[in-house]
Amino acid sequence: MTSFLRLVLLGFFLVFVFSAFCTPPALAQENPYIVAYDHYLEEPGNLEIEYFSTLGTQRGGHNFHAFWAEFEYGATAWWTTEFYLDGQTTFNDSTVFTGFRWENRVRLLQREHFINPVFYVEYENKSGADKVLKEVEGHDVESDFLVSNAQARKDHIHEIELKLILSSTFKGWNFTENTLAAKNLSNSPWEFGYALGASRPLALKAAAKRCTLCPQNFVAGVEMYGGLGDWHSFGLHGTSHYLAPALAWNLRSGWTLRISPGFGLNDNSHPFLMRWGVSREITGFGSMVSRLLGGRK
């Protein structure tokens, strides 16, 4: 990683810290999912800055710590766009910047229905050393990560990823089902995957006082995700799968903390993934930019 790029990443970090302490707080109402998506988009004009870590165990190799920064902007009430920066540290190896992703989610129906579809499209520009496991697709397995960073970085991946998110809310519960199809823009077959999630706030009614530890500020859930093979060999053979309980804590100050220990469900999976993340919403970011550009006030 060049020193210039390090400087830029430091800049992002400083802006994150600065904005977190200086901008007006808005209580986020986030679900605890880290891999699965529900149908709720970012509020229009708001920017959510997020940082996530994944600590993964590796049999026959070195454990790793993968991380990503995420900038999620509500362009409209039906369209959210996100930009990601990914990196990882493999213990006893090295720390590398592994690429970026640009994601868009579009709500397909205007009103709330029993099942709410959202269309997702993402472009990924990353190296083969990417270990964030933001999704599992195709025949992704634990042994893919045995390659050293120096070797893995030689692979350059341009990928388009499509998802159909089907999400429902019933009596305080959210249930979501994501199906995934990804295509490396080089000559590789389509790969498939899935993510399922269920979550619920610990209390459905809000307390009539401002509080940090009230049960309505906590959302507990579980997610399950894995690969479904590729165009030539669709199915569960040679795929990895994970089950991960998850908890989100929406703080009054506008921060959200998430934690999710994940467990591999078969021999192709990493035995254990410890994920956590922190995010903060900046309200009215679109208006700020508009003012900056001297546009509509």
């Binding site: 060049t2 210039f4 790029l5 830029v8 990443l9 800049g11 992002f12 400083l14 802006v15 600065f18 904005s19 200086c22 901008t23 007006p24 808005a26 209580l27 109402q29 679900n31 529900d38 149908h39 709720y40 988009l41 509020e43 229009p44 004009g45 900038f71 509500g74 409209t76 009430a77 039906w78 930009f83 920066l85 970026f100 709500r107 205007q110 009103r111 709330e112 520009n125 809310t169 009596k171 305080g172 706030p201 459905l204 009614k205 809000a206 307390a207 009539a208 006082k209 401002r210 309505q216 009054r252 900046i282 009215g284 970011f285 208006s287 700020m288 930019v289 003012r291 900056l292 006030k297």
Partner: protein, 156 residues
């Protein structure tokens, strides 16, 4: 890689300046004292609620804490667009307007649940149903006569 780094540098600068601008006192909501005028068509969204939804009664209408809890929820989720005192902001209409206060609790609940996505109001079904009813109770309380001195009043 240099192009990516340059793009990231631009983004960082852009974000930093935007956030600094956000600190200026002029940012944010409309003045609380004066209610803004809105196109009456905005309020016509309330009429789109199906009859069954419109007729739903607020299950928390007799809950003495519902309006106070709703006021806190309003401050956390709605004030950004509708203004601190619900008199309207740059993005959201005045909720003290006669059209809103005349609407049934069920109609307001229906708007909260479904949003007005094309006009910029997001779907709020991510708030559990009881919290949406608490918000409805608070919004309806804005049209009630001011409480006598000394009694607790819901205030966002």
């Amino acid at each position: 890689m240099k192009a990516v780094a340059a793009a990231l540098a631009t983004c960082t600068l852009f974000l930093a300046v935007s956030v600094v601008l956000a600190q200026s006192p002029s940012s944010g909501k409309a003045p609380a004292a004066a209610a803004q005028e809105y196109d009456p068509a905005i309020y016509a969204e309330l009429q789109k609620a199906p009859e069954k939804a419109r007729l739903r009664a607020n299950p928390l209408r007799n809950d003495p804490h519902a309006a106070a809890a709703g006021a806190i929820l309003f401050e956390q989720h709605c004030a950004e667009c509708h203004g601190d005192a619900a008199r309207g902001g740059k993005k959201g209409p005045n909720l003290r307007a006669a059209e809103v206060q005349a609407a049934t609790p069920g109609a307001i609940f229906w708007i909260l649940t479904n949003g007005v996505v094309r006009k910029g109001m997001p779907v709020w079904s991510k708030l559990p149903e009881p919290q949406r009813w608490q918000l409805v109770r608070y919004i309806k309380s804005l049209g009630e006569p001011a409480p006598a001195e000394g009694s607790p009043a819901p205030k966002p």
